[in-house]
């Protein structure tokens, strides 16, 4: 059986936290450039110019793209034929987060307890870690730091089957209109449809790890993504101060659900749609 030492996991997670914070993925950068070409608002153009310039500075100088370097979401696919050795797997990931956020001069934005005693943990741990056991002997890690300007505007609606496609569109648009200019648009919108309330939310997060240029493989969902994008871009929200580039993409993921339900979750991501991906 293949073995992987936890030290390797920690080192890689640390590097990935820094990469994600500094380098905007190319698909998102190109999406911003396309938005700049088509944007109709003069103020919107100025805002997009600043955002594009910001991405270039962050990349050239290894600086955080945004000061909110997020709560660290970690998607793990663990091959069932891989043996993790040398320590605790979850601890290894959190050690990597602590190392990356400290060495990389990233902001530590996590409090240990949410309500009564909000004390900063000072190293951005713990991360939000989702582990899936899959065939094979590899470890696949995706780091997706999530800022809370946009996370605070995300939401879930529990629809019923009779609500159908129209109901889904209305539910998404209600969340988008409520969010308006607050989540730092141009947004990237992750939508999770089906499952349970929590599964829908997770699907909406996973949707954001897909390239903005890649549509859902099922034609019906691909069409829904395009129609939702058009609706969002007709709201006037634009790049923060009004305009036509409100969102760069809508990514929809779906899952099996109950005969009585149609959960819909929307995770809004700002233009800082950051992630880093490695297979160990």
């Amino acid at each position: 059986m293949r073995e992987l030492d936890v030290k390797v996991i920690t080192e890689n997670v640390a590097e990935m936290c820094k990469e994600a914070a500094y380098y905007l993925p190319e698909d998102v950068y190109n999406g911003l450039k396309r938005g700049r070409e088509t944007e109709k608002s003069e103020v919107g153009k100025i805002v997009l110019d600043q955002i594009i310039k910001n991405a270039e500075i962050a990349k050239a100088e290894d600086r955080p793209y945004c000061q909110d370097t997020g709560m660290t979401i970690v998607f793990v696919k663990l091959g069932q034929d891989l043996h993790i050795v040398g320590g605790d797997f979850t601890q290894a990931i959190n050690d990597g987060i602590a190392k990356g956020y400290t060495e990389g001069y990233l902001r530590k934005s996590v409090v240990g307890e949410p309500l009564f005693n909000r004390v900063n943990t000072k190293n951005n741990t713990p991360g939000v870690i989702y582990t899936e056991i899959v065939p094979g002997d590899k470890l696949e890690i995706t780091i997706a730091p999530k800022g809370f300007g946009s996370e605070n505007k995300s939401g879930v609606k529990m629809l019923v089957p009779a609500d159908g496609v129209k109901g889904v569109k209305k539910a998404v648009m209600e969340i988008i209109l409520h969010a308006s200019m607050n989540p730092c648009p141009p947004m990237v919108v992750g939508v999770g449809i089906g499952g349970t309330m929590d599964r829908a939310a997770l699907l909406s997060k996973k949707a954001l790890t897909r390239s903005i240029d890649e549509r859902n493989p099922m034609p019906e969902y691909a069409k829904l993504e395009e129609e939702l994008l058009e609706l969002i871009n007709s709201t006037g929200i634009g790049p923060q101060l009004g305009g036509t580039t409100s969102a760069l993409a809508v990514n929809v993921e779906w899952g099996p659900t109950h005969i009585a339900g149609l959960p819909v979750a929307v995770t809004i991501c700002c233009h800082a749609m950051r992630h880093s991906h490695r297979i160990l």
Binding site: K40, S41, E42, V43, G44, I46, V47, Q50, I51, K53, N54, I57, A58, E61, R63, P64, Y65, C66, Q67, D68, T69, Y105, L106, R107, K108, S109, R118, N120, K122, G149, N152, K166, K169, K170, M173, E174, L177, S180, M181, N182, C184, L231, S234, T235, G236, I237, G238, Q240, L241, G242, G243, T244, C270, H271, A272
Partner: protein, 190 residues
Amino acid sequence: MAESIRITTPFTEEMSRKLKAGDSVLITGTIISARDAAHKAMTEALARGEKLPVDWTNQIVYYLGPTPAKPGDPIGSCGPTTSGRMDAYTPTMLDQGIKGMVGKGSRTPEVVEAMKRNGATYFAAVGGAAALIAKSVKSYTVLAYPELGPEAVAALEVVDFPAIVVIDCEGNNFYEIGQKPYRNFDMSKI
């Protein structure tokens, strides 16, 4: 869009009243950072009848929690945070003499009323443009609540810090004005 208006601190009510929603500005001088925890601490101190650690008369507050500075830099990445989270505390803080606020996103009607009463202006910096904005910051000095880390109250010396007037002291709101021409959305047509 017209050329940017240069403003320098201290930022008086007279200067504030000249600005209109949609104006593009470049701020030079000292602005003071404060966000969630600092606002809570300051309003609690006022409620106890204590003096604030900073004189806010004619100051511009910046809703900010920067990343740590790399060695040799005055500050890390330092874009605006969501202003709305400060709304519950803002009328009290405006009554302390603040004349300008820099952040991002909408404000409550209570804040807008307090702005009109005090002749204060609300500016937006571009949300997420944090590495770019850092270029206009020349120094960062913690003034109070150092235990709050990135949430500490600090003085930032800035040169040509770019911002846009979103809500002027008459209550005109550029978020509404700027969106309107491009809104072609009707929920009932879905």
